[in-house]
Assembly symmetry: C2
Homo-oligomer: 238 residues x 2
């Protein structure tokens, strides 16, 4: 039986802050732990969206590409989507209204949850992290200028997570959502949307399985400065 | 094959802060995830030490008791001890010197580690959280007055964890160590020691499996105030 109660996370947001962008898990290995999720490729190369066990990458040039099983990631989160759960219909609303509504409706507060929302959108606004080369700069430098893309009248899927504020740093506190269109032509890290109609599943995940890249020497000895950490993450992820 | 790479943690330190002392995992279930570890019983009833797959409780009256499989805990951490790992001999030293030395020697910084140290101690100083009754007070109130015990010339085992500061709140940042004497007559949360001779295993644990009590309604709706959280934890755990 599939484990639909565990959020599997490889790496942390915190390790990205000083620029630890080495890929430390293969996509193939990651997909052993879930069929739905988000991440970024080695070198902070774009935005990864995983739906139905297939990984896609939004590149900084606006392209959407399938991700090879050998491609590696410094950070990713996946879970196994529970298709037995009810899908809650959505009214037309903006992204801030959606997250506020969902948090209340699903009682999201102290536990992790996987979010999958499908819909027809009036407008979707995303950004995509641009690929970095070694020596890697800090996250705020790497993400200072990020291409943004907007698409109108698009059908697609929002995938991501809710995490309690307690885990900010280890991951993104609050919502962290990516998007991919049904035609796989448009994807990225969600900045904003207006949805016309849709439905959402908020899957409470009692377990966080956090896997750290302890075989990566740079990670083991890195100075991860906690002061200002969440400011840096929020600046990069906004 | 036993999984010797995972720190299994039930609950968080943070949930103890507002007084969520309900037992939410049985000892029997906990021991499915490891044979070595620490915790506290429902109601913040003393200090739990798990060695060789057996759980002991230090009570606030200074007694040490075996823990029944049905007894429940609000917070506990376990791992499976890897007896293939080398045991590093120890010079005579105090507890602060030990933690400083161990952190450097074992390269403890960004990853979790299970600590098991056996030795002959000149002196061991512990405290034991006193059992609370409902309605439970906040952690700082519950632990404002904690019985302390000292034993000289004692042989025993130190069990606990190193966690990176990033996870303070979810758990105790830095070292969190309990003690039990070989004769099972003296145990508690370690405040200080002077060891004469001994040996230690620091087992780096790449995985944190964090299990939250999502079936506990009080937990799901509790207000866990992040501001001052670590001050409260450090005050209670000192």
């Amino acid at each position: 039986m599939k484990d639909t109660e565990t959020l599997y996370q490889h790496g942390t947001l915190a390790l990205l802050v000083p620029g630890l962008f080495d890929g430390t898990i293969t996509t193939k290995e990651l997909l052993n732990h879930g069929d739905t999720g988000i991440g970024t490729l080695a070198g902070l190369d774009g935005e990864v969206i995983i739906v139905d066990g297939q990984a896609f990458q939004a590149g900084a040039d606006g392209s959407v590409n399938t991700v090879n099983g050998d491609a590696t990631m410094p950070f990713a989160s996946v879970h196994t989507f529970d298709n037995q759960l009810p899908k809650t219909p959505l009214a037309a609303m903006t992204m801030p209204a959606f997250t506020t509504w969902l948090q209340t409706t699903a009682g999201l507060k102290n536990a992790f949850a996987g979010i999958v929302m499908t819909g027809i959108f009036n407008r979707v606004h995303v950004r995509v992290a641009p690929k970095q080369t070694k020596p890697y700069p800090p996250l705020t430098t790497a993400t200072a200028a990020q291409p943004e893309f907007t698409r109108e009248n698009v059908q697609g899927t929002v995938v991501g997570y809710f995490a309690p504020a307690l885990y900010a740093g280890a991951t993104v506190g609050g919502f962290h959502l990516h998007f991919i269109s049904d035609d796989h032509q448009f994807a990225g890290h969600l900045l904003d949307f207006t949805v016309m109609t849709g439905e959402v599943t908020a899957q409470v995940l009692p377990n966080l399985m956090l896997h750290l890249p302890t075989d990566n020497a740079d990670f083991m000895k890195a100075d991860i400065e906690l002061s200002g950490l969440n400011d840096a993450i929020n600046e990069a992820e906004k």
